[in-house]
C-alpha cells in the first residue's frame, strides 16, 4: 500500500514537470538549452575517456552538425526520423496533460503499424485516394483501441496505467511476432516473421524523389504538422481539452465540476493511442513498406523523452522531436566520418533527458543563467 502511494507521488512529481502549470520561461527554455549543451560537453568527455583524441572529437561534432542539418539529404533524414517521434510524442504529451503516464506508445505503435500494413497489402485495386486514408485510419483506430484497453481498466478498476501500459507493451511484442507468422500476413516464401509488402497505392508518397532517389522524406510530415495543430487546438481551444487539463491538474476538482473522470481517462488514452498508432502507420507506409518483428525500434520510448523534453506542449514536442531526429541522423554521420560509436549518441540523448528531468542539477551547474532567489523547485 505504502509502495503504491510512493509510486503515485513520484508519478505526480514527474507529471508536474512534464506538464507545467503556468509557462515558466526558465524551466521551459533555459533548462533544455543548458541540458543539451552540458550533454554535448559530457559526451566529449566520455569520448576522451575512451581514448578518442581531440581532433576526432571535433570532427565527430562537425559530422553531427553536418549529418543533421548540413545538406538536403541530412535534413530529409532528420525530418524522417523526427516525424514518428513527434506523432507518438504528441500522444504521450496528451496523457501527461491529463495526468496520465502512458508508457504504452511502443505497443500502440506496433498495433497501429500492423493494422496499417494489413490494410496496406490486402486490398488490391483500390485507388490511392481511398486506399492510403483507409490504411492510415486502420493504424489510428488500432492504436486507439489498444490504448483504450489500458484506459478502460484504469477507469474501471483503478489499476495504475503505468503498469498496464508496460504490460500491454510486452503483449504487443509477442502478438506482433505471432501475427507476422500467420499465413495471411507472412510474406509468401519466407519463414521468418516479416509481412507482405505494402501496395504502392497505400504508400505515403515521397516528396523529394525528383531531387534524388535516396531522399526518404515522405508526405507523413504533413500528417505530423496537422496532428500538431490539432493537438494544440484540442488542448488549448476546445472544451474537451480543458476537461483533459482540468482532470490532469486536479482530478477531484474536475469531478466536482461535473466532469466524468472515467470517460476522460478512456478518451485521453484512446486519443494518445491514436497518435501512436498513426506514428506506426507512418513508419510502415512511409519508411519501411512492410512490418517485421522490431519495426517500432524503440520510438515509443523515445517519444516519452520527447514529450518530457517538449514539456507536453505540442510546439515543444515538435522541437524536441526534431532534436532527437537530428541526433539520430547526425549520429549516423558521426559514425561514418569519425568512426565514433553510435552508442555515444545514446549517451548524449540520455544525458539530455537526465538534465531535463533534474533541473536542480542544471541550476546548480549554471547559477548565472537563472534569476537570483528564484524558487529552485515548485514543491
Amino acid at each position: 500500500m505504502s509502495e503504491q502511494g510512493e509510486t503515485a507521488t513520484l508519478t505526480a512529481r514527474l507529471l508536474e514537470r512534464a506538464a507545467p502549470k503556468r509557462a515558466d520561461f526558465e524551466d521551459l527554455v533555459i533548462v533544455p538549452v543548458f541540458a543539451v549543451v552540458v550533454a554535448l560537453i559530457l559526451g566529449g568527455v566520455a569520448m576522451l575517456a575512451t581514448n578518442v583524441d581531440l581532433e576526432t572529437i571535433g570532427r565527430s561534432y562537425v559530422a553531427l552538425a553536418y549529418g543533421s542539418i548540413g545538406s538536403i539529404n541530412a535534413l530529409s533524414e532528420t525530418i524522417t526520423a523526427a516525424t514518428p517521434l513527434i506523432l507518438a510524442g504528441l500522444g504521450v504529451a496528451l496523457g501527461f496533460r491529463a495526468g496520465l503516464f502512458n508508457i504504452g506508445a511502443e505497443g500502440q505503435i506496433l498495433m497501429g503499424g500492423m493494422a496499417a500494413v494489413v490494410v496496406g497489402f490486402s486490398f488490391t485495386g483500390l485507388p490511392m485516394l481511398v486506399h492510403l486514408p483507409l490504411a492510415l485510419l486502420a493504424g489510428i483506430v488500432a492504436g486507439a483501441l489498444y490504448a483504450a484497453i489500458a484506459g478502460w481498466i484504469r477507469a474501471a478498476t483503478g489499476a495504475h496505467e503505468v503498469i498496464l501500459t508496460i504490460m500491454l507493451n510486452m503483449i504487443s511484442y509477442r502478438l506482433v511476432d505471432y501475427m507476422l507468422r500467420m499465413p495471411a500476413i507472412q510474406r509468401p516464401g519466407r519463414s521468418d516473421p516479416i509481412s507482405s509488402s505494402v501496395l504502392p497505392t497505400a504508400e505515403l508518397p515521397r516528396l523529394l524523389e525528383w531531387l534524388g532517389p535516396n531522399l526518404r522524406l515522405h508526405s507523413g510530415v504533413f500528417l505530423m504538422l496537422a496532428a500538431v495543430l490539432f493537438v494544440y487546438w484540442l488542448l488549448f481551444r476546445s472544451t474537451i481539452g480543458f476537461e483533459f487539463r482540468a482532470s490532469g491538474e486536479s482530478p477531484e476538482a474536475a469531478r466536482f465540476a461535473g466532469m466524468r473522470s472515467g470517460l476522460i481517462i478512456v478518451l485521453v488514452m484512446a486519443l494518445g493511442g491514436a497518435f501512436a498508432g498513426l506514428a506506426g502507420a507512418n513508419q510502415v507506409l512511409g519508411v519501411l513498406g512492410r512490418a517485421s518483428s522490431g519495426f517500432s525500434a524503440g520510438i515509443g520510448f523515445d517519444a516519452l523523452a520527447v514529450a518530457l523534453l517538449g514539456r507536453s506542449h505540442p510546439f515543444g514536442v515538435v522541437i524536441a522531436g526534431l532534436l532527437f531526429g537530428a541526433l539520430e541522423a547526425g549520429g549516423r554521420q558521426m559514425q561514418v566520418d569519425a568512426g565514433v560509436s553510435i552508442d555515444l549518441i545514446g549517451i548524449i540523448q540520455s544525458l539530455i533527458i537526465l538534465f531535463i528531468a533534474a533541473p536542480l542539477v542544471v541550476r546548480a551547474l549554471f547559477p548565472w543563467g537563472f534569476r537570483k532567489g528564484a524558487p529552485a523547485s515548485k514543491e
Binding site: 552538425a65 549529418g67 539529404n73 516473421p193 525500434a297 549516423r332 553510435i342
Partner: protein, 342 residues
C-alpha cells in the same frame, strides 16, 4: 557565441579536408560495411565480415569504414549515408536483403556486396556471398553425435531464415548420418528439418535468451548445444562455463569462437566457421582490380569458404578414430560421395 562557433566549424572542416587530401593518394579505395543489429563486435557474423575488410586494409592498403545498425529501421538510412563515399558497400546479413536491393536499383553505379543473400535474377551491381554452411555443420553434427554422453544434442537459432536454418539442417543431418553408421540413437533437440520448425530466440542480440535456451535444452538432456544466433550464443557459453565443460559443451558458429571469445574458450567443442572474411576480401579484391561483377560467390568446404574449426583444447578428448572418420567424411563431402542438403 554564434560567430565563434561558425569559424571554429569552418576551421575544423578545413583541417579535415586538407588531411584527407594528403591521404588520398595512398588509399583511394574505400570499402564500407553495414552491420545488422548484432553490432560490429558480435564475436561472430558481423565481426568476421569486418575482419575481411581489415585484412584488405592490411594487405591491399584500402580504407575501411563501418556503420552499425541499431534497429531494422536503420538499414536503409545507413546504406544511404554511405552512398557515394565508398567504392564498395558490404551489407551483412539476410535481413538487409530488401534494403540492399532497393539501394542497388536506385544507384546502379554503386557497387554492393551482400553476405548471405543471392538475388534472382542477378543484380548487375551486387555480388551476393552465400555459403554451403551445411557441409561444415554436417561435420559438426557427426562430431557432436560421437562425443555426446547423454545421447541428446541441442540446437537453437536466432531467426527462422535460410542462413540460420542451413546450420541446423547440416547439424541434424550429420548426427543422423552418425546414427546410421553406428546404429546409435542420438537425438537432436530444437529443430525439425521436415516441418521447418524449431527453437528460435527471434533476435540476434539477447545474451539472456542464449542462456535461457541453452538451459532449457540442457534440462531436456542435451550435453552439447549449437546456438546459431551470433552473439546470443555467448550467453549459452556463459552457462556452459558455470555448469562445467563435462556437463555442457557449446559449438560455435561463424568465427572460431575459441579465438574470438578467449575468456570462455574451454567450453567450445569446435566451431562451424563461415569464412566471410575470405569472401569479403575476395570481393574487395575483384572490385579493386576491376573484375567485379554482379552474381553469387559461394563458399564451400572445397574452397575453404566454410570449415570446421580446430579442436584446440578438446584435441585430446576426441578419440582418434572419430577424427579419422571426420577426415574421410570431409573428403567424401568435397568429392560428392556424401550429399549434404537437398
Amino acid at each position: 557565441m554564434k560567430r565563434s562557433l561558425k569559424t571554429w566549424l569552418a576551421a575544423t572542416l578545413l583541417a579535415t579536408s586538407t588531411l584527407t587530401g594528403f591521404g588520398a593518394a595512398a588509399a583511394d579505395f574505400t570499402a564500407c560495411e553495414v552491420t545488422d543489429t548484432g553490432g560490429i563486435d558480435d564475436n561472430s557474423f558481423n565481426q568476421t565480415a569486418w575482419k575481411g575488410v581489415q585484412d584488405a586494409q592490411a594487405k591491399l592498403g584500402i580504407k575501411g569504414r563501418y556503420l552499425e545498425s541499431q534497429a531494422e529501421t536503420d538499414y536503409t538510412a545507413n546504406i544511404n549515408s554511405l552512398l557515394g563515399q565508398c567504392d564498395l558497400i558490404i551489407t551483412v546479413g539476410f535481413l538487409l536483403g530488401d534494403a540492399t536491393k532497393a539501394a542497388a536499383e536506385a544507384n546502379p553505379n554503386q557497387k554492393f556486396s551482400i553476405v548471405d543473400y543471392a538475388y534472382d535474377p542477378v543484380l548487375p551491381n551486387v555480388a551476393g556471398q552465400v555459403y554451403a554452411t551445411d557441409q561444415a555443420a554436417f561435420l559438426a553434427g557427426y562430431l557432436a553425435a560421437g562425443m555426446t554422453k547423454s545421447g541428446s544434442l541441442g540446437v537453437f537459432g536466432g531467426i527462422n531464415i535460410p542462413p540460420v536454418t542451413i546450420f541446423m539442417d547440416g547439424f541434424h543431418q550429420g548426427a543422423e548420418y552418425y546414427n546410421k553408421q553406428k546404429g546409435t540413437k542420438v537425438k537432436v533437440l530444437g529443430w525439425d528439418p521436415a516441418k521447418r520448425e524449431g527453437l528460435f530466440t527471434n533476435n540476434f542480440d539477447s545474451l539472456d535468451d542464449g542462456r535461457a535456451f541453452a538451459q532449457n535444452l540442457y534440462d531436456e538432456g542435451a550435453d552439447i548445444v549449437l546456438p546459431v544466433a551470433g552473439p546470443v550464443g555467448l550467453g549459452s557459453a556463459a552457462l556452459a562455463n558455470e555448469l562445467g565443460v563435462d556437463k555442457l559443451k557449446i559449438i560455435g558458429v561463424d568465427a572460431d569462437l575459441y579465438l574470438t571469445d578467449p575468456e570462455r574458450k574451454h567450453v567450445y567443442l569446435t566451431s562451424i566457421m563461415k569464412r566471410m572474411d575470405a569472401t569479403v576480401m575476395e570481393v574487395i579484391d575483384s572490385a579493386m582490380k576491376g573484375t567485379f561483377k554482379g552474381g553469387v560467390v559461394v563458399g564451400s568446404l572445397s574452397n575453404g569458404g566454410v570449415d570446421l574449426a580446430p579442436l584446440h583444447d578438446m584435441e585430446t578428448m576426441v578419440p582418434d578414430e572419430l577424427k579419422k572418420e571426420l577426415a574421410t567424411i570431409r573428403q567424401q563431402i568435397i568429392d560428392g560421395t556424401i550429399k549434404v542438403g537437398n
